[in-house]
């Protein structure tokens, strides 16, 4: 018996969310008294793979294959399911990332496994029950879900568990399962990645703005503040609906749900649908000209004032703080 964790690589490197998933999987392995194996797909160097030992992976299965260079969920799911069988995995852990969302359900069906996605805590093993807490109703609630299948699949929300070191020596082992040709029916034509931007779903800090900014031409100060903080930028629904900002920045009930350590909302009133997507942020700062804005009711810190005055001053103060 073991725990298997899928470690998603981007251009041969692992991101923080991967180390978080490994840390989480290691904690499950400890609860179950079993060992942790990681499965890496794509061309990742030995040194980077060894790095996974730092977070508790004692074995790393390395699938290095040009055919699998690009992410094709159908083929990747086959590889992960084969790895789970080889390792007799009782639990399979993935990140609840864009690719994780396309992968985990396929892996679950292949293994006839129950799946919890959006997990926010370690599973509780209560009198034979296997219970996992996950977000539900777009952050308005949590659902404690029991999995009764022999194998369990869990997709962990970013920033929910944190990175925890637990150094072991990682043994890297080449793995080359058979993959059927029909798993490559979808073909990746092009990948466009903005390398200088912090990606929103797993960002630790997020600066977000709403209609209070009055127009897309005023986003310069939002971007400057975000750059200074190393934060991702986000926006409210009316802003993306008006095409002031791309849809990929829309957070809220019908946009992306996020749970950063810090969420700064500027010129956003805080409609229930917006709050649903951001309420699991650890610290919320609201800057709004209207002292009655509902957002202040769920904020930790607030400034009542005109964004066009407050934000430039905040940028100055931040520059001074950073020296």
């Amino acid at each position: 018996m073991s725990v298997l964790v899928y470690v998603e690589q981007v251009d041969g490197k692992f991101k923080k969310s991967v180390f978080e998933a490994v840390s989480y999987a290691k904690a499950i392995a400890d609860i179950q008294g079993s060992s942790l194996t990681a499965i890496s797909i794509g061309n990742v160097g030995e040194a980077e793979l060894k790095e996974l030992g730092k977070y508790g992976a004692s074995k790393v299965l390395n699938v290095s294959n040009d055919q699998l260079k690009n992410f094709i969920n159908q083929a990747y799911a086959s590889v992960i399911a084969e790895a789970a069988k080889k390792e007799s995995a009782a639990v399979v852990v993935l990140s609840n990332s864009f690719s994780g969302k396309g992968l985990a359900p396929r892996v679950a069906v292949k293994l006839e496994a129950g799946l919890v996605d959006g997990a926010v805590e370690l599973p509780k093993l209560d009198g034979g029950q296997f219970l996992v807490k996950k977000t539900a109703f777009s952050g308005k609630a949590f659902a404690i879900t029991e999995l009764t299948s022999a194998i369990k699949v869990i997709a962990l929300n970013p920033n929910a568990f944190g990175v925890k070191e637990s150094a072991v020596e990682a043994a890297v082992e080449a793995f080359s399962p058979e993959i059927k040709a029909t798993d490559f029916t979808a073909i990746v034509k092009e990948i466009v990645r903005a390398t200088n931007k912090v990606s929103l779903p797993d960002a630790e800090l997020v600066v977000s703005a709403g209609r209070g900014l009055k127009g897309p031409e005023n986003w310069g100060m939002i971007e400057e503040l975000a750059n200074l903080l190393g934060a991702a930028t986000a926006c409210s629904k009316p802003v993306s609906d008006a095409d002031w900002r791309p849809h990929s920045e829309h957070v809220g009930q019908t946009g992306i749900a996020i749970s950063p350590n810090l969420y700064i909302a500027i010129g956003i009133s805080g409609a229930i649908q917006h709050l649903a997507g951001v309420s699991s942020s650890k610290v919320i700062v609201v800057i709004n000209i209207d002292p009655e804005a509902p957002f202040f009711k769920v904020a930790d810190y607030g400034i009542v004032g005109d964004a066009f005055v407050v934000v430039p001053k905040l940028i100055e103060a931040l520059k001074a703080h950073k020296g």
Binding site: F98, V109, G114, T185, I191, L205, T254, V283, I303, L314
Partner: protein
């Protein structure tokens, strides 16, 4: 061309979420139900692709008879007909299995649905249906073009986008950008009443997951207000008190 669109019956986005029976059941009292907003985007794109006699759109819902008003809403938006698989959708695995089993009995070119449902926020059904049918599943797409045999799809990835091409049957889960949700007009609402709605019995499958209890997030403490001309104080609090910067 024939497109199947999966729709989920979910509480309206303004719903205050509460639970009953010792927090084991969602309290539906006074709640109005809608077509899941993401599924509405998928439906709108399907209608656009089939416009001008190029094809037909069938909506599928796994639900008991209470979901029929929501199905009629989808027909009013412009779907041609509907199928209701008569069962309580107990989890994504069950729901995806029912949709896949139905899809096996009919001819179709693609299946579309929303990126996730706004109740359980599982983005599981599309990829599970893909796996049950052994066809490609493309999750969280932002753009979909189709030339009659090949689909060109843009999907969201961390920090960017990816363009994928698929020939043959596939399923995709749609996010914002794929289409603008269509609002039904009076003609649509009138004709929805007479459009075919077929009821199909569900197939048995073992249950492997179950929500045992719900929980709501703890309330936050009162907001600490900082005067507008003391922004350095806010930076100080975020640094030394909240320890987030």
């Amino acid at each position: 061309m024939k497109i199947l669109v999966c729709i989920s019956n979910v509480p309206d986005t303004t719903t205050k979420i509460t639970f009953t029976n010792d927090n084991t059941q969602f309290n539906t009292s006074g709640v109005s139900f809608i077509v899941n907003p993401y599924d509405e985007i998928a439906l709108s794109r399907a209608i656009e692709l089939c416009a001008g006699g190029k094809g037909t759109v069938t909506v599928i819902n796994v639900g008991e008879s209470v979901t029929e008003p929501t199905i009629r809403k989808a027909l009013a938006i412009g779907a041609d007909d509907a199928v209701r698989i008569n069962a309580e959708p107990r989890d994504a695995y069950f729901t995806a299995y029912q949709i896949a089993e139905y899809a096996k009995t009919t001819d179709y070119d693609m299946i579309l649905c929303g990126r996730e449902s706004i109740d359980y926020n599982g983005s599981q059904v599309a990829a599970m249906v893909g796996e049950f049918l052994d066809i490609p599943s493309i999750s969280i797409i932002k753009k979909l073009d189709y030339d009659g045999t090949t689909a060109t799809i843009e999907r969201e990835i961390e920090g960017g986008k990816e363009v994928v091409s698929v020939s043959g049957k596939f399923i995709a889960s749609c996010a914002e950008g794929t289409a603008v949700a269509t609002i039904p007009n009076m003609r649509g609402i009138m004709s929805a009443r007479s459009k075919p709605l077929q009821v199909v019995e569900a197939k048995e499958i073992a249950q492997i997951s179950k929500v045992q209890q719900f929980d709501t997030p703890p309330p936050r403490g009162a907001v600490k207000l900082v005067p507008a001309d003391e922004t350095e104080k806010l930076i100080g609090l975020l640094h030394s008190e909240a320890k987030v910067i």
